[in-house]
Symmetry: C2
Subunit: 538 residues, 2 copies
C-alpha cells in the first residue's frame, strides 16, 4: 500500500496507518543497513581480523542497541518476522547458490573422504552433542527440555559454517585441504538439515530401542528422495531449455525460468514433506552441470552472478537480524534464566562442539590416511587442525534450524535455546572468525610448498585414461592398450578415479545428449566462459 495514501486517511483508520507505516519504516531501515553492511564489508576486504559476516553481526548489534535506546529499552528489533521468512524466502537462495556454485571437481575428487567427514562426522557430532547436552544440562540446572529437543539441539549445533576458513585458504596452494574443508561444509549442511528433519518427524514421546533405527531410516529416506526430486527437476529444466531453446528469443526468460524452477523444486519438496533444502541443493548442482550450458552466454553470466548476489543478500540479512536479535530484551526475559545459567549452557554447547569435532576429525582423518597411499596425499596433523578449526564456527543454518525448532513455542525453554544459539553463533563468528586468518597462516606456513597431493591424484586419473581410452574428449591415446581385466583392479586401487571415469562415460553417452551440457550445446558467441563456479572470486 502506498503509505502516502494511508497517511491521509481519516482518523478512524489510524491503527491501520500506524502498522503499515511501521512496516515501511522497518523495511527502509533494514535495507539501508544492508547497504551499509555491503559497503563496510567491502572496505574490510583486506582486513586481517574482520570479514563480511562479522561486520554484519556487529552492525546488527549496534542497530539493536540504537533501537533499544530509541524505544527506551523496550525492544531491539527494527523488523520482526516469523520463521516462514527464513525458510521460504531466505534459506533457499543461499542453499541453491551453494549447489549451483559448488566446485564439482574439488567436491568429487576427494569424495569418499568428504563423505566420511561430512556425513559420518556430522552423525558422530550429532550423537555427542545430543547426549552430552542431555547429561550436562541437568548438571547446570536445566531440566525442562524433552528428548526431542535434545536431539534437535544435536542437529542444530552440528551444522558448521566454514566460510571464514575457506576465505583464508588458497585453493591452489593447498588444494587437498581446500577440497576437504569445502566439501565437508557442503555435505555437513545437507546431513545436519536432513537429520533435523528426521528428528522432527519422529514421535519421540516413548523412546525405544527402535527409535535410533527409525531415525536412521527416516534420515536415509529423506536423503534419497529429496536428492532424487532435486535431480529430476534440474534435469527437467535442462530438457525444457534445450528443447525450447529460449535463447533464440530471450535471455530474460531463461534467467526467469531457471530461477522459478529452482524455487519450485524447493516448494514441491516442502509440499511432499521432504527436505526442501537438499532438493534445491541438488537441483543447483544439476542445473550447473546441464542447464547452465544450454543457455546463452549472457544468461550464464547473469545467472551466475544474480544467484550469488541473492544468496549474499540473504546471508547478510540473516547475520544482521541475528545481531539485532541478540539484544532482544523480550527473549531474555522470557527465557527466565540467570546470566550464569545462560553462559554455562552456551559454554557447554561450545565445549561439546569443540570436543565432538576433535573426536571425529582426528580419528576419521587417520582412518582415511590408511587408504591414502602416496605420502603426499595423506592428511597431516596441521591439516587436521585446520579442518577441526574450520568447523567450529556456527552460522546461518544453525540460526535457521534453531528458530524453526524453538520459536514456534513461546515457552521459556524455546526462548532460552534461541538465546543460546545466538550467543554461540555470535561468539564463534566474531571471536573465532577474527583470529582465523592469522591462526591458519601460522598453522600452514610450513606446509604450503609441500602439497603434491593434487599431482599424485591427477596422475592416477591419467593412468585411467591411458588404460580405458574411449570417446572421452580429454583422451587421445591409442585404444590398443585397453585391458579389461585391469578395470576391476583399477576400481579397487583407485575407486574414486574409476568411478569418476565411469561417470564421465555414462554422462557423455546418455545424459548430455538428452539434457545438454558442456560441449553438447553450440555456443552462441565466440568467447567461452568457465563454469558457474569459476575462479571469479566471491
Amino acid at each position: 500500500m502506498a503509505t502516502s495514501t494511508l497517511l491521509f486517511l481519516p482518523a478512524s483508520d489510524l491503527p491501520k496507518i500506524a502498522s503499515a507505516a511501521s512496516v515501511v519504516v522497518s523495511i527502509t531501515v533494514f535495507v539501508a543497513l544492508l547497504c551499509a553492511c555491503l559497503v563496510i564489508g567491502h572496505l574490510l576486504e583486506g582486513s586481517r581480523w574482520a570479514n563480511e559476516s562479522i561486520a554484519s553481526l556487529l552492525l546488527g548489534l549496534c542497530a539493536g542497541l540504537v533501537m533499544l535506546l530509541v524505544t527506551r529499552w523496550k525492544r531491539s528489533h527494527i523488523l520482526t518476522f516469523d520463521e516462514e521468512l527464513f525458510f521460504i524466502y531466505l534459506l533457499p537462495p543461499i542453499i541453491f547458490n551453494a549447489g549451483f556454485q559448488v566446485k564439482k571437481k574439488q567436491f568429487f575428487q576427494n569424495f569418499t573422504t568428504i563423505l566420511l567427514f561430512g556425513v559420518l562426522g556430522t552423525l558422530i557430532s550429532f550423537c555427542i552433542i545430543s547426549t552430552g547436552s542431555y547429561f550436562l544440562f541437568k548438571q547446570i540446572g536445566i531440566t525442562s527440555l524433552k528428548i526431542q529437543q535434545y536431539l534437535a539441539t544435536g542437529a542444530i549445533f552440528s551444522a558448521t559454517d566454514s566460510v571464514c576458513t575457506l576465505q583464508v585458504l588458497n585453493q591452489d596452494e593447498t588444494p587437498l585441504l581446500y577440497s576437504l574443508v569445502f566439501g565437508e561444509g557442503v555435505a555437513n549442511d545437507a546431513t545436519s538439515i536432513v537429520l533435523f528433519n528426521a528428528v522432527q518427524s519422529l514421535n519421540l514421546s516413548h523412546v525405544k530401542a527402535m527409535t535410533a533405527i527409525k531415525l536412521f531410516g527416516t534420515f536415509l529416506y529423506l536423503f534419497f528422495t529429496s536428492t532424487a526430486l532435486g535431480v529430476m527437476i534440474g534435469l527437467l529444466s535442462a530438457y525444457i531449455i534445450k528443447k525450447l531453446y529460449f535463447g533464440r528469443h530471450s535471455t530474460n526468460r531463461e534467467v526467469a525460468i531457471m530461477l522459478l524452477l529452482a524455487y519450485l523444486s524447493y516448494m514441491i519438496a516442502e509440499l511432499l514433506s521432504l527436505s526442501g533444502i537438499l532438493t534445491i541443493f541438488f537441483c543447483g548442482i544439476i542445473m550447473s552441470h546441464y542447464t547452465w550450458h544450454n543457455v546463452t552466454e549472457r544468461s550464464r553470466i547473469t545467472t551466475r552472478h544474480a544467484f550469488a548476489a541473492m544468496s549474499f543478500i540473504s546471508e547478510t540479512f540473516i547475520f544482521l537480524y541475528v545481531g539485532m536479535d541478540a539484544l532482544d530484551i523480550d527473549k531474555w526475559k522470557r527465557s527466565d534464566a540467570s546470566v550464569g545459567t545462560t553462559v554455562a549452557a552456551s559454554g557447554t554447547l561450545f565445549a561439546l562442539v569443540m570436543v565432538g569435532r576433535a573426536i571425529f576429525v582426528f580419528s576419521l582423518a587417520n582412518f582415511a590416511n590408511c587408504f591414502r597411499h602416496e605420502s603426499d596425499d595423506k592428511i597431516d596433523l596441521r591439516q587436521q587442525f585446520v579442518i577441526w578449526w574450520a568447523g567450529l564456527m556456527r552460522g546461518s543454518v544453525t540460526i535457521a534450524l534453531s528458530y524453526n525448532q524453538f520459536s514456534t513455542s513461546s515457552s521459556k525453554e524455546g526462548a532460552f535455546m534461541i538465546t543460546n544459539s545466538i550467543i554461540v553463533v555470535l561468539f564463534s563468528t566474531v571471536v573465532f572468525g577474527s583470529v582465523t586468518k592469522p591462526l591458519i597462516k601460522a598453522a600452514l606456513c610450513h606446509n604450503w610448498t609441500s602439497t603434491n597431493g593434487e599431482d599424485a591424484h591427477s596422475s592416477s586419473l591419467e593412468d585411467i585414461h591411458i588404460l580405458f581410452p574411449d570417446n572421452c574428449r580429454t583422451s587421445g591415446n591409442d585404444s590398443s592398450h585397453a585391458n579389461p581385466r585391469s578395470s576391476l583392479g583399477m576400481l579397487i586401487m583407485h575407486p574414486t578415479s574409476t568411478i569418476h571415469y565411469l561417470w564421465r562415460r555414462f554422462d557423455n553417452m546418455y545424459m548430455r545428449p538428452v539434457f545438454g551440457g558442456r560441449g553438447f550445446v553450440p555456443l552462441l558467441s565466440s568467447s567461452t566462459l568457465t563454469s558457474p563456479e569459476g575462479a571469479d572470486g566471491v
Copy 2:
C-alpha cells in the same frame, strides 16, 4: 516454516498446520503456473494473435476455473494477498526496470511531443474520464460513489499499457512512431500515478474552486520532489561505486548494492509520502546513465538481465493474478450489482477511455505538427491512429492502482469498481491486444518506406555540433566556427536539439567526472557492451 516439521505436530496444532500447509500449496501452484506462463509465452512468440500478457491472463482464468471446480464454486483464488504485495514487492521491479532500460535516445529525442502526449494528454484523459463517469454512472444507476472515488477512477483508467503495440512496431522502420508510443507510455505511467497520489492526498469532502488548483499543486510537488529524490539516490549509487570501486573485488556486491539502493529509493519515497514509483523510475534512469558504466562488464550484463527478468516475473504474476481474480465469486457477490449494470459500467469506462484518448491524441498531434517543420517529421493521420490505438489497453498499473483505491474498503462500491477494472483490463488486453498486430500492420503498410524523420532530426543535431564545437567526444570540428549569437537562434529553431547539446556539455564537464558514466570509467576488459537498453530483444 518447514512444512515437514509441522505436518507431524500434535493434533492441537492442526489449525496452524492447515494454514501453513496451504501457504506452501498456494506458492507451489503459483510458481508452477508462472513457469507454465513463461513456456507458453515463449511458444507463442511468433504468433499473430497472442502474446505473453494474453497468455498469462488466459492461464489465470483457466486456473481460477479449476479452483472454482475444485472448491465447489467457493473461491477462485489459489493465493490471496493484500495490496501491500503489489506495492512493496511487485510494482517496484517493473517500474525500476522501465527506467533502467528506457531508451534514452528515443525518449529525449522527441521530448516535447512526448511530454505533450504523456503529461498533458493524460491530464486531459483524467478530466474526461472523471467527469464522464461522474455524470454517466448516475444514468446507469450507480450513485453511491464519492467525488474522490470518481477522481481516482479518472487516474486509474488513464494509465495505459502500450506494450502490445510496442512489440509490433519496429524501431528502425518507424523510429518517430516508436519513440512517441514508447515515450508517452513512460510519461503516462508517471503522470497517472502521481495524479492518483495527489487525489489520495486531498481532502475532497468539500469540493471548492480551490480544489482543482490544490490538486494541481500537489501533483507538481509530488512530481518534482519524487524525481529529485530518485535522481539523488541514483547519483549516490554512482558515486559509491565509483569511489569504492567494488569491481576490484566482487561483481556480486555491485549487483547487490545496485538492487538494494534502487529499492531503498522506493522505500524512502514511501516513507516521506512521496511517489515511490516516480522515484524508483528516475533512480533507474540515473543508474543506467552513470552507475551502470562504473561497474564491471559482468555486472553490467547481470544487472541488465536480472532486473529485466525480475520485472518480467512480476508482470506475469500480476496478469496471472488478475486472470484468477476475474472469477472471484466473493467479489461478484459483494459488488451486489447485476450483470447488466456491471457491463454497462465497464462499457461506459471503456467508451470514455476511447473517446478521451481520441480527443487528445488527434488534437495534440495536430498542435505538435505546427512546430514540426520538415514534412517528414510531422505526425500523419495513420501514425495518429496508431498512437491512439496503443493507449487503449490497460494493464498492471491500472490493476495496482485500482486495488490500492478500492480493496481497502470491503464495501460493495469497492468490489464493484475492482470488478470493472478487471473487466476493462481483461477485455482490452485479450481482445484489443490480439488484433493489434494485424491492425497496426494494415495501418502502417504504406508508411514504412516514407519515414525520414530520423534523418532530418539527426542532421539538425549535426548542425548543432558544427556550430558549437566543444570537448564533446562525438565532434571533431574546428572551433573557429563558433557563433554565440546563433545559440539563441538555434535554441528557438531547434529547442530539443539545443537542450540536448547543452545537457551533453554539462554532463561531460561536471557530472560524469564526479559520478562516472560512459567513457569516464576505464573498461576492465577489452570487449565493449551497449547500454542496458541495447538491442538485445526482450
